[in-house]
Amino acid sequence: MKGISKRVTVGFMSIVALLFVSGMISLFELRTLSNDTESILAASRSDMSYAKDMLRYAHDHNHAMMRRTLFGEEAAAKECRQAVDAMEVATAAVRRDIPRGVEECLDTLSLYIAELRALSEERLNSKPAFVKRAHPNLLPTLESDSVQVDAAPQPSAEQLSASIWYEQDYEVAYRRLTDQVERYMTLSHGSLAPRAEQLNKNAYRSITPVFISLLVMIAIVLMLYFFVLVYGVRPIVRINRSLSDYLAFKLPFKVKAELIDELRELSDNIENLVNISKTNKNE
């Protein structure tokens, strides 16, 4: 490469290119980091939302089952089936983006849903225990005290059997299911820890390239300063000093500096000029 202006231009262009590259890197890395954070937050949000939905469906199922079994509401059977279907749909949706370590929990949850479905289907397919009552608060319980027993109508054998089924069979399955949903919530929340750790690593990784690029850029700027000083500024200062010395004290024109390109030509030209002037004077 020749020409001091070309050298300086290329030097500056290198710095500009490096600046541009480090800017691009920071943008790229920040975007990656932002996407990672977003995906972790989204995963967390969707996990919680699915778990909440599942708990709601389980509650709906419980409510509908109670109405169907204990109050004999025919319409509640449909709601029961809809709630179990919704629970299955929610479990299948969770499985699509399953976090590590939660697979077994979801398998158990599916099993409990299937059990609940089988249990409730068996009951739904049988004849309702009673006709619809006026007020659900008048529901007889096994533990009711003697005063209430006296006040309320005596429950039939079918009523008693429905109550026993609800308490001994259904409620156990229902509790097991809701406990499992809560367990899933805890586990999916726990699975966020390694992802957050990964995020921490990603943050480190996103800063390091920019930091290293900046360090390299500082080194290059310092080198540019040094080279401009050595090959640009210092020769001009020395040429000027030497020329001044010649003009003032008639000292021989000699430049002690590293001269390249136009500055070498300038020095040589001045030297020739000095020689010509000396020759002219002698003549």
């Binding site: 490469m1 050298r7 030097g11 990784r205 040094f226 080279f227 050595v230 090959y231 590293e258």
Partner: protein, 480 residues
């Protein structure tokens, strides 16, 4: 001293380093692993650092010795600095100190690692680790001389500084020829080892990495269990030969193949080197067999020979946990880690040449006392040793032990047991890699404190630059 000229030639070395980073990036790209981006970016930054001085500084003929020293030491230091870029950018276990440690360990062919799980590293970074060893094995500046023909007459100035005085003895050729011999022997050895390892059952990638590591006597493996992972006598046999040949003077290997007089079978240094290796291996094998560590004599000999060659050649590959070996075996292995291999090879350490000189000077001294007027001359492999050379060798031996002692004291100050502290100092100064105790063949340097790690890197650099080179650089400002 012309700083701009120094920067230009260090830049040339940086271009070589950048080229290897680019090759590692290509490997990462092919393997579609997470190392591609850090390697590519590091390669671009290193290339820019290397190219920038060339924009301004014109080609220069004639480099002074002082400038040569600055170029050589500066190249080593800067190679280690840019060498840690890919590690730092990749992250994982690499903190700033860990990345510096791994980079210095690679370039100085020490082979000590801070990684607890090497197999977790992407292929590109694994290749980069091996590449640092391979470049460092022959010397980063010599490497630049090997691949860049444009350095002209400056080759002589640089190669004479990069090669130790002892190493130069067996290169009785012009600089250009010496550089060519290095290239032929080094690349030839690596290629042959790669092919043999592949035939023995390694994957191509592992074969290339282990060949580069063995021929540079670095010792970086792609497996957590090092060579023990393969549990193959054939692979171990191939590596024993590769490590052994790489730790012999390259000039002598070349002379053997070109049927010159000073060949492998005639060299005094090589004969002593072989004798030490054989005797130590047999003693260790006997001790292991007697202690019932291995079921039969053959397994004892197999493991003892591999570990002895691995440590004496300063490679540092492992097939067994040497911490479980007998005290005699441990002491013998520490001793061979101090002596190390021959000058003019890729190995580090005290070197058999100096041990031989030390012995000859000792005998000469006794003879001189018996015959005060006798004129005694000391020759090694037929080459007359000047008194300045003898002086330097003796001083080197003394300085070597002083440094080991100082480093041991320093290590114990950080709570290490004596075995770990001493063997770590020996392993780092000799560029061996594994020591004993907490830094044994199946352990790593991850648990060491930051100060100890930094101290180890200084020892590695001192060992690689043969102590004086490093010290000279520190006082270069006052050097007239």
């Amino acid at each position: 001293m012309r700083v701009s000229v120094i920067l230009r030639y260090i830049g040339t070395v940086m271009l070589c380093v950048a080229a290897f980073m680019a090759v590692s990036a290509v490997i990462s790209f092919i393997g579609r692993d997470s190392g591609f981006y850090p390697l590519l970016l590091s390669s671009l930054l290193t290339m820019l650092l290397g190219l920038f001085p060339m924009i301004f500084v014109p080609k220069t003929t004639g480099i002074s010795t002082k400038e040569g020293f600055a170029i050589v030491v500066g190249s080593w230091l800067l190679s280690c600095v840019v060498g840690m870029f890919p590690y730092l950018m990749w992250g994982g276990e690499f903190s700033l100190v860990n990345a510096w440690f791994e980079s210095v360990s690679g370039f100085t062919t020490t082979g000590a690692s801070i990684l607890t799980n090497i197999e977790e590293l992407p292929q590109g970074l694994l290749f980069w680790r091996s590449a640092t060893c391979w470049m460092g094995g022959v010397g980063v500046v010599m490497f630049a001389l090997l691949v860049l023909p444009s350095l002209g007459t400056n080759k002589m100035a640089l190669s004479s500084i990069e090669l130790s005085t002892l190493a130069k003895d067996n290169f009785r050729y012009r600089t250009q020829m010496t550089v060519r011999i290095l290239l032929v022997v080094y690349v030839g050895l690596t290629l042959i080892t790669t092919l043999l390892l592949k035939v023995a059952g390694m994957r191509w990638f592992d074969a290339v990495n282990h060949a580069m590591s063995a021929c540079s006597t670095g010792g970086f493996s792609t497996k957590n269990a090092s060579i023990g992972f393969y549990d193959s006598p054939l692979i171990e046999a191939i590596l024993i030969v590769a490590m052994f040949l790489s730790s012999v003077h390259f000039g002598i290997i070349y002379a053997t193949f070109t049927r010159k007089a000073n060949n492998l079978f005639r060299s005094e240094v090589v004969r002593i080197y072989v004798a030490i290796t054989v005797v130590v291996s047999l003693m260790i094998a006997a001790s292991l067999y007697a202690a019932n560590i291995y079921p039969d004599a053959l397994s004892s000999l197999r493991h003892s020979l591999f570990q002895t060659v691995s440590l004496i050649s300063t490679t540092g590959f492992a097939t067994a946990n040497t911490n479980l070996w007998t005290p005699l075996a441990v002491v013998l292995l520490i001793n061979v880690s101090i002596i190390c291999a021959c000058a003019g090879s890729t190995s580090g350490g005290l070197k058999v040449d100096r041990v031989l000189l030390f012995g000859k000077v000792f005998i000469a001294r006794i003879k001189q006392q018996q015959h005060p007027n006798a004129v005694l001359r000391i020759r090694v492999d037929g080459v007359l040793q000047e008194s300045t050379q003898l002086h330097a060798a003796m001083l080197f031996v003394a300085l070597y032990f002083i440094l080991i002692m100082l480093a041991t004291v320093s290590n114990t100050m950080f709570g290490q047991d004596l075995l770990t502290a001493f063997s770590q100092a020996v392993a780092c100064l000799g560029n061996v890699g594994p020591g004993f105790g907490a830094v044994g063949s199946e352990s790593n340097f991850a648990t060491q404190s930051v100060v100890v790690k930094l101290q180890d890197t200084v020892l590695m650099l001192m060992g690689r630059l043969e102590i004086f080179g490093f010290i000279q650089f520190l006082f270069i400002k006052w050097w007239r």
